[in-house]
């Protein structure tokens, strides 16, 4: 059992199973849509988890990258002769470049100071998306053209369910690969002790930047997928609250746990749907649940439960 758990393919395989099971188990388009939103958020959360959970660097501005990916898909085809899918690729590249340029100076900061710097970055992106209404449609948002793949028009909830689910599985697989590679070991090492990582040859500044860029790529990809899936996008996706949501997903599910990011995303996306019956008590319950989980499962849901199960054995 333990060995199965530690296999490199355990997390992506488990996620693939969940995606497939839900794909056939969820009857209505509504449930498929919620699930697809979970996959998209989980992808972003995995990206942020690589940065926060593995490399130990906080970001309160990751929705900024999400917004860059989303708006690249929306704006790209309007200003360049590119298809939405190509625009998605360009958007991811743009997010990577911006992450590189922004990350170089701000990753020198530590802890809460890094948090406030990333928060500032996120707000800058939000302001640009919200203010440049000529390009972005402003706060009311803008439509996104439908993507086509080999002449096949990508629309319909079930199509996007499988696309987003597939990307999530691949994303989880790549994340696990990274974590188990020399790069991943370097990241986890600098999380625990920067100085010890340095004296065995890890270029700490470079690896923080690597983690920042990779996580930006994940998040931008997620943003682009949401834009294509929804066909309409507003600057809220880049907002401060959205950044906070990603952080909550990572911490709630468990820092350093890929499956945890999926669990965190599922809770944050599905809970408001489940709580909608409570009407105005919805946020009351949401806040309470957040507190209770973090007080009693302080390492995050998945790692805490795994530890509990381990103790039970």
């Amino acid at each position: 059992m333990g060995r199965l758990f530690n296999h490199p393919l355990a997390a992506p395989a488990l996620i693939a199973l969940i995606v497939i099971a839900c794909g056939f188990g969820l009857g209505s388009n509504f449930y498929l849509r919620v699930a697809a939103l979970v996959w998209i958020s989980a992808l972003a959360a995995i990206g942020l988890n690589l940065l926060m959970g593995f490399a130990g660097q906080v970001s309160l501005g990751h929705a900024g990258f999400f917004g860059i990916g989303a708006y690249a898909v929306a704006v790209g085809p309007n200003v360049l002769p590119v298809s939405p899918l190509l625009a998605l690729v360009l958007g991811i590249a743009l997010a990577a470049v911006i992450a590189y340029l922004v990350g170089r100076p701000i990753l020198k900061l530590k802890g809460h100071y890094l948090a406030v710097a990333t928060l500032g970055f996120g707000i800058l992106v939000y302001m640009v998306l919200s203010n440049e209404s000529g390009l972005t449609g402003g706060p009311d948002g803008m439509p996104v053209s439908r993507a086509t793949l080999f002449g096949w028009r990508l629309k319909g909830v079930d199509t996007w369910y499988w696309i987003t689910g597939g990307v999530l599985v691949v994303g989880a697989w790549v994340a696990v690969n990274l974590v188990r590679s020399p790069t991943g070991r370097a990241l986890r090492a600098l999380h625990d002790s920067e100085v010890a990582a340095r004296v065995v040859g890890v270029d700490v500044a470079r690896y923080k930047l690597v983690a920042f860029v990779v996580s930006a790529v994940y998040t931008a990809l997620a943003g682009g997928l949401l834009a294509l899936f929804n066909g309409f996008i507003t600057p809220d996706v880049a907002g401060f609250m959205h950044s906070i949501e990603f952080v909550v997903m990572v911490v709630l599910g468990g820092m350093g746990s890929i499956v945890g990011s999926l669990v965190g995303a599922a809770i944050l996306i599905a809970l408001p749907q489940a709580l909608s019956a409570f009407q105005e008590y919805e946020h009351l319950a949401l806040g309470l649940i957040l507190m209770v989980f973090m007080i009693f499962l302080r390492k995050g849901i998945v790692p805490s439960l795994v530890a509990l199960a381990g103790r039970g054995r």
Binding site: P182, A186, R188, A189, H191, S193, A196, R198, V200, G201
Partner: protein
């Protein structure tokens, strides 16, 4: 050949000269110990040599090349590695992974193959692990390779740091109080380990409080007090140096020294 040469090195914190114009040379393949009372500046000196602190004055050379102010991760490529007085273990990683991080510069570091887990990366991971297990075997921890480092007792973590440093295949190794907090049995293990490392041709620079250990294994010693050099020489030279006895070993140490001479 001289492995490490320190010349007139110094640094101060808030006006206090933590290390003041210290110079010494370490012969390749030897065991060189730096001793001195608490607060004498031993660890600070290590931090200066290993690039963790930038010296205010003086130079550091490795194998004849000036490396003053070179970042720690670049010094590794020049053959220098170290351990820490206060444990700097990667607690969230397994024991084997801790050592594998030490193989960092020996591994291909292209990010794209890592993301895709190409066969070359899988093979390399396997090789790194094999090497890590070999080193763990050397320090008697092979059986705990897949345990979380956080679950190991203090003494084993001390040895784990040495294994991690050895994984970089250093030519010169700085050990900061490797026997601190260890029981006599563990201390003996560490002594044998250090001797074996030196026997492999690795130059060892040692900071240690356990005088028996130091006196037994050191080729040369360097004594610091208040950041300044107090004495330098062989174990016998230092042991008999009245300055050292007075300033460092104190009354209790003086008696012990006297007993040792008898």
């Amino acid at each position: 050949m001289t492995a490490l040469s320190v010349r007139d090195i110094g640094i101060s914190f808030g006006g206090v000269k933590a290390v003041d114009s210290v110079s010494f040379d370490v012969e390749e393949g030897s065991i060189f110990s730096i001793i001195g009372p608490n607060g004498a500046g031993k660890t600070t000196l290590f931090n200066l040599i290993s690039g963790v602190y930038l010296p205010k004055a003086g130079t550091v050379s490795l194998f004849g090349e000036d490396v003053t102010g070179v970042a720690p991760n670049r010094l590794v490529a020049r053959g220098l590695s170290r351990t820490f007085q206060n444990l700097q273990i990667f607690f969230r990683m397994t024991v084997a992974e801790n050592v594998m991080v030490g193989r960092h510069l020996k591994e291909a570091r292209g990010i794209v193959p890592h993301l895709l887990s190409l066969p070359s990366v899988v093979r390399q991971n396997r090789d790194s692990r094999t090497e890590a297990i070999r080193l763990l075997d050397r320090i008697g921890l092979a059986g705990r390779a897949d345990d979380l480092a956080a679950n190991l007792p203090y003494g084993e973590l001390k040895r784990l740091e040495i294994a991690r440093a050895l994984a970089t295949e250093p030519k010169i190794l700085l050990l900061d109080e490797p026997a601190a907090g260890c029981n006599p049995k563990e201390t003996e293990d560490i002594e044998r380990l250090i001797e074996a490392i030196a026997a492999d041709g690795v130059t060892v620079v040692l900071v240690e409080h356990d005088m028996r250990l130091v006196m037994r294994i050191s080729n040369r010693l360097h004594v610091l007090d208040y950041g300044k050099t107090l004495a330098s020489g062989t174990a016998e030279d230092v042991r008999t140096n009245p300055e050292v006895i007075k300033a460092y070993l104190g009354t209790h140490g003086a008696e012990e020294a006297a007993r040792a001479r008898r």
